[in-house]
Symmetry: D3
Subunit: 254 residues, 6 copies
C-alpha cells in the first residue's frame, strides 16, 4: 500500500487524512564524511517515517530536504562544500506554513520525524506557533533520543559511545544508511582519523580545521547493516509508542 501522499491523488489523500497520522520527515543537505551521501539526514528521517507509517497505519509527507545550519560540534559546520544552511527563521516559516496548511486541510495528528541535530529548536518554534493558530496536535521527535541504553551498548561494543551530538556520519548514521540505501555507502573511502572531544562552547566565526578533514566526528568503522536494522526497529517501535500515547484521545472520536 502506498503511504506517501506525494504519490497519492488528492482523492486518496482526502480519504486517508481523516483518520491517519501524517508523518513529516525533516532532513538537511549536509556533508557526511567521505563515505556517506549528503542527503543522509533525509534518507534516515524518511526511511524511519515509512517504517513508522507501516506500524501505525500512517501516511508520509514529502520530506523537507534542506535544514538549519550545520555546526562544527554536531555536523561539521558550514565550511564543507555542499552543506546548505538555512537561516533559522526560514526553516521556522517553512515548517509553520506546512503545518498550518495541513491543519486547514483537516489533518489532526502530525508526527515530525527529525533527522538533523541542529533543526530541533527551530522545529519546536514552528510547531509552537502553528499549534497556537490552529487546532492541530503535533509531536516532534528526533531518532537519537529514542535509543535505549541497551541498544546503545549493542551499537558501541567495539568503540566507545561519543555522545549523540558527535554521532555525525558515525556508527549509527552509517548503519542506518546501510540499511535504507546500501548502494550509497562507500566504506572503502572511510578514513579513521583522530577524533577530538566535543566542544563545550560555540566559537564564531567558525574557523577551518577544528573538525577532522573528512567531516566525520566519530568513527564509523564498526557500522553494519545489521546494526542499522536493529536501530530502525528500535527507533520506530519507540516512535509508534509515542504516537499511541500522544494521539490516544483521537482513537474514540475518529
Amino acid at each position: 500500500m502506498n503511504r506517501e501522499i506525494a504519490r497519492m491523488t488528492w482523492k486518496e489523500f482526502e480519504e486517508a487524512k481523516r483518520t491517519k497520522t501524517l508523518i513529516i520527515p525533516v532532513g538537511s543537505l549536509e556533508q557526511h564524511g567521505y563515505h556517506l551521501p549528503m542527503e543522509t539526514d533525509v534518507i534516515i528521517s524518511s526511511g524511519l517515517a515509512k517504517v513508522l507509517a507501516e506500524k501505525i497505519d500512517g501516511i508520509v509527507a514529502p520530506p523537507v530536504n534542506y535544514g538549519y545550519k550545520s555546526q562544527p560540534n554536531s555536523g561539521g559546520g558550514p565550511l564543507f562544500p555542499g552543506t546548505v544552511d538555512l537561516n533559522g527563521d526560514t526553516l521556522v516559516r517553512l515548517v509553520y506554513d506546512m503545518l498550518c496548511e495541513f491543519a486547514r486541510d483537516g489533518v489532526k495528528k502530525i508526527f515530525i520525524s527529525n533527522g538533523h541535530f541542529e533543526n530541533e529548536a527551530f522545529l519546536v518554534e514552528a510547531v509552537d506557533l502553528a499549534t497556537r493558530q490552529y487546532d492541530i496536535h503535533v509531536v516532534l521527535a528526533s531518532w537519537w533520543d529514542q535509543i535505549p541504553s541497551d541498544m546503545v551498548e549493542k551499537c558501541f561494543e567495539e568503540v566507545p559511545f561519543p555522545g549523540w551530538a558527535l554521532e555525525h556520519a558515525a556508527v549509527t548514521e552509517t548503519s542506518m544508511v546501510m540499511y535504507f540505501t546500501p548502494e550509497l555507502v562507500h566504506m572503502d573511502r572511510f578514513v579513521e582519523e583522530e577524533f577530538r572531544k566535543p566542544g563545550l562552547y560555540h566559537d564564531y566565526p567558525i574557523k577551518p580545521g577544528i573538525v577532522p578533514a573528512s567531516g566525520v566526528l566519530a568513527t564509523a568503522r564498526t557500522s553494519s547493516r545489521g546494526k542499522g536494522a536493529l536501530l530502525v526497529e528500535s527507533i520506530t517501535d519507540a516512535y509508534a509508542g509515542i504516537c499511541r500515547e500522544a494521539f490516544k484521545s483521537y482513537d474514540d472520536t475518529l
Copy 2:
C-alpha cells in the same frame, strides 16, 4: 553517472561544483485531478532537470518539494485537500537561502527548473535578492515557456490548446508524468468534465465550485507517453540552449 548531489559525498560535490551548472528543481504539493499524483510538479521539474543535466553535463540539487499558493485559474486553488500553499515570503526566503549557500560554496552557474505556475514571481524575487548579494549567475525557466508552436500543435491535434495557465493536470502535464513515472498515472480515473474559460481576474476569498470537481482545468484525455517524450526532449533542448547562451562566458574561465 550520478548527477544528483544529494547522493554524492561532499568530496564528489566539491569536484563537480567547480565547473558544472547546478540545476535546482522547484515543484509543489498540489492536487492534479483524479488521475495524477500530488507531486506532479516535482516529478516534472526534477525529471526535466535530470535529462537536462545529461545534456549539459550538469548536476541536480534536491528539489524544493513545496511551492507557492495554488490559484483557481491555474492550479485549482487551495480548497482541494493536500494542496499545501506556502506564503510568498516563505518561498522567497527558502530559495534565497539556498542560492546564497550555493554561492558561498563557490557554485557559479545555477539553473532553476520551475514546474509550478504560481511559483514564478516569487522565484524571481529570490533570484534577484541573492544575485544582488553574491557573485552568482542564476537562470530561471518554466517548462511551458519553452514549447515552440509546432510542438503545441502536435500535442493539441485532437483538442484545442487552452493556454498554459489552464494546462493543469491536462495533456502536457499528464503526458510528461506518463513519461517519467507511468505507474503514478491513473487514466482510468480521469473524468471528462465541462471545462470553463480561464478567469480574467482574481476573486478573494476563493469560493468553492469555480473549478471542475476533479480539479483538472482542461482535458487530459489525449495524453500519451509519446507526447511526453516529445515534450521532454523539446523542453530540455530549449533549456540546454538557454544554458549555453547564458553561461557561455564561463566556458573560457572554468
Copy 3:
C-alpha cells in the same frame, strides 16, 4: 460628483463606504521610453479607476504610486534611471495594511485596478492574506487581461501584436496616456528601434543592453488617442461587468 476619497471629508467617505465599491489603483514609477512619463502606470490605473467609478457608482482610493521590480522582459528592468523597484514583501505589506484598514472601516467591496505587469503576484498575495484575516471581498484585475480579441485586432491593424508582456510603452499604453493626459506624451521623441522577441527565461543579475536603448519593448508608432478611447471604454466595460458579477450578492443586503 467627486468620487476620489482623498478629496472627501471623512463624513463624506463615511456615507459613501456603506454601499459603494472602493477602487484602488496600483501603479509604479518606471521608465516608459523616450515619449511617455514615468508615472504611466499610475495614470492608466487611476484613469481607468475613475471611469469605472462612474459606471458602477464607485469611489476611488489614492493610488499606490510605487510598485514591484520592473523586469527586462516586461518593463525594461531596473537599469533605467527613475525606475523605483520595491521589494516584493514591501508591496505585499503595503497593500495588505491598506486592505485591512479599509476592512476595519467597514468597506465590503474592493476592486484593485492594476496597471503594472510585475505587480500582479504580489497583489494576489496581499489580497489572499487580507481576506483570510477580515471579512472583505476583493477583486483584482489588470487591464491587459480584459481586452477582447476584436479589440486587439483594432489596435494592431498596422503592426503585429507582440503579446501583453511586451506592450510596455507601446501601442496600448501610449494610446491610453494620450487619452488621459495627452500633454505628457511626446511622440516626437519616439524612436523606432529593432525590438527583440520576448525572453523565455529570467537571467540574473540583469545585464545592460538586452532591451532597446529607449526602454520601449514594442513599437508605439501607431498609437492614437482614438485607440486610447476605445481601449478605456472596452476595459472599463469589462471591469464593470466583473464588479456586477463578483459583488452581486451585496445588492440585496446593502
Copy 4:
C-alpha cells in the same frame, strides 16, 4: 518647468538627477475634520515640496499617499472612517526601498518633506537604515518644526496656540490647504467644539469619544488663505536654508 519626476520621461530624470536635490513628500490618508479633505497631509507635504523645488532648483518624487497610524493626541486616531493606518514596519520598508532605489539610480541629495505628525520616527528609521547601506545624503524635516515664533504669533493672534501635536485640521493646516487647494476647504461645515487639553500619555486600546466629534483637535476658525501663504513662504524658506546648509559640500563637486 516641470519638476515632478512622475511627469518626466526617464531621459529627463536622468539629466536632472545628476545635480538636483530630490524632494519626497510623505503624507497620509487621515480624517481632517468636517471641513478638510482626507488627503490634507499629502496636499501640504506635496505643495511645500513644489514650492521648495522652485527655490532650490530641485525635483519632486511622487508622494507617499499612506502613512503611519493616526493617534488621538495628534490626529484623532483610528476610529474615524477613512483613516488608513499603516503598520510602522510597513512604512519603514516602503521608504527604505524608495531611498535605496534612488541611491542606486545615482541620486545623492534627498529631502523628505513630511506632512503627518505620526510618521516621523518611522521615517527616521527608514532613513537611518538606507544611509547605512548606500552612500546617499538624506535630510528629513516636518513643516511644524520650521515655523519661527513670530510666525506662530501672527497665526495665533486671535486664538491661543495649542502646541503642534494639536494643530490637526486647525489653523495652520486649514490655512495651507486654503492656499494650495481652496476648492477642497469647506469652512461652512466647520463646527466650533470644546477642545480638550492634549493627553500626556498613550492609552490603548483607543477608546471612542476622547477627541471632539469632528476629529478636529483645535479651532480652525481663524484660518485664512493669507496665513496659508505666509506659512508656505516661511516654511519653504526654512527648508531651502536647510538644504543649502546640509548639501553645501555637493556644490563644488556636482
Copy 5:
C-alpha cells in the same frame, strides 16, 4: 514589601497579578556625558516605577535594558561608544512579545514607564499591536511629559529650560540619578560646554562633531539631589493619577 516580580516566586506573582497594575520600565544603554552612567535611562525609568508601585500598590517587571537608536538632537547619537541602538522593529517585537505574554498570564493593567526619548514611537507601535491581539489595557507614559510648568520653573531657576529633547544628561536627568543612585554621579567630571540650539531636522548619515564633545546637550551644572526628589515626587504623582484615571473601570470588577 517586594514589588519586583523578578524577585518573586511564581506563586507570589500569581497572587499579585490578579489585581495589581504591572509597571514595565523601558530604558536604554546610552552615553550620558562625562558625569552620568550609561544606564541612566534604566535607573530613572526603574526608579520611577518602584516609587509609583508604592503609590498605587503595583508590581514592577524587569526593565528593558536596551532601547531604540539614540539621535543627535535628543541623545547625542550613535557615534559615542557604548550607545547600543536597537533597530526599531527589534524593540517593537520585544515589547510586543512581553505584552502578549503578560496578557496570556492574565495580567489586565500594564503601565509602561519610558525613560528614553527615542523609544516612544516604537513603544506605541508595540502597544497598539498587542492590544489588538489581546484583551489587555496598556498605558504608556514618559516622565518628561508629566512635569507641570511650575516644576519646570523650579528646576530651571538658574539656567533657561532648553526643551525636553535637549534635557539629555542635563539638569533633570542628573538630578534624578543623584536621587536614585548618587554614587554613580560624577559632577566633578562635568564640563560646561557651548550648547547649540536644537536641530530642526534630521540629517543622515550622522556626522561627528554636531553635539558637544561630552555628549551632554544642555547644562547639568545646577542639578541637585533636592531637585531630583521634587521631580520624582511630581512625576510619580502624575503617573499615579494617570493609573487611577485610566484603570478606574477595573476597581469594581477586580
Copy 6:
C-alpha cells in the same frame, strides 16, 4: 573596580573596550518552583559573568532579562504564570542588534554567558548572523556544559543526577542562587514531589499537568551555598580557560 558597563560613563567604557573582553549575560523571566525567584537565570548568568570578569579582567554588559520559550522538558513550560516567552525571532534580533552595535563600537572579543536552557539555539543564530556581518569574535557558553564529572559527583552525592535539561530549579541552580542572592531562596517552601523522567519528544499544544505542580523538574533538597560556591568557581574557571584559548590571538595585538 567597577566592571559593569551600565554603571560606567561612556569615557570609562571607551577606555575599557579597547582591550577587554565584553561579557553579555542572557537569562529569562521564568518560574523556578516555589522556592526560587523568577529571575534565577539572570542571577546566575550575571553572577557568573561578574566572577568571570574578575578572572579575565573583563567587563560586563547589562543582562538580557527575557529569553526564549520555556519548555516542559527543561523549564516547566509556558503554563506557569510569570514565565515570559519571547518568540525565537525576537530573541535572535535583539541579540543580533546588540552584537552588531558593540562591533560598531570597536569591541572585538565578546563572551555570552547563557543561563537559560532554551535560549541556546537562538543565541547561536544571532551570533552566526552578527559575525557574518562584522569582524567580531564571539564565544557563547552555557554553564551546565562546563561542569566536569567529578564536580557533578560532588553535587549529586545524595541524589541521582537527572541530566542537565531537568536541572531546572534543582540542586545546581538552587545552590548557585544561594551563593549569589541567598535572601531570595525560600527552601522552607520547597516541596518534594514525584519527579517524572524527561520527555523524549515534544508534544504540542502543551498540556497542563505534565510537570510537577511546583514547576521543579528534579529535587533541590540537597542544595547548599557551599555547592554553589564550588559550582561558581568551577564554571568560571572553565569560562576563563575558554576565553584564554579562544581569544589568545588578540593578546599580542591589543
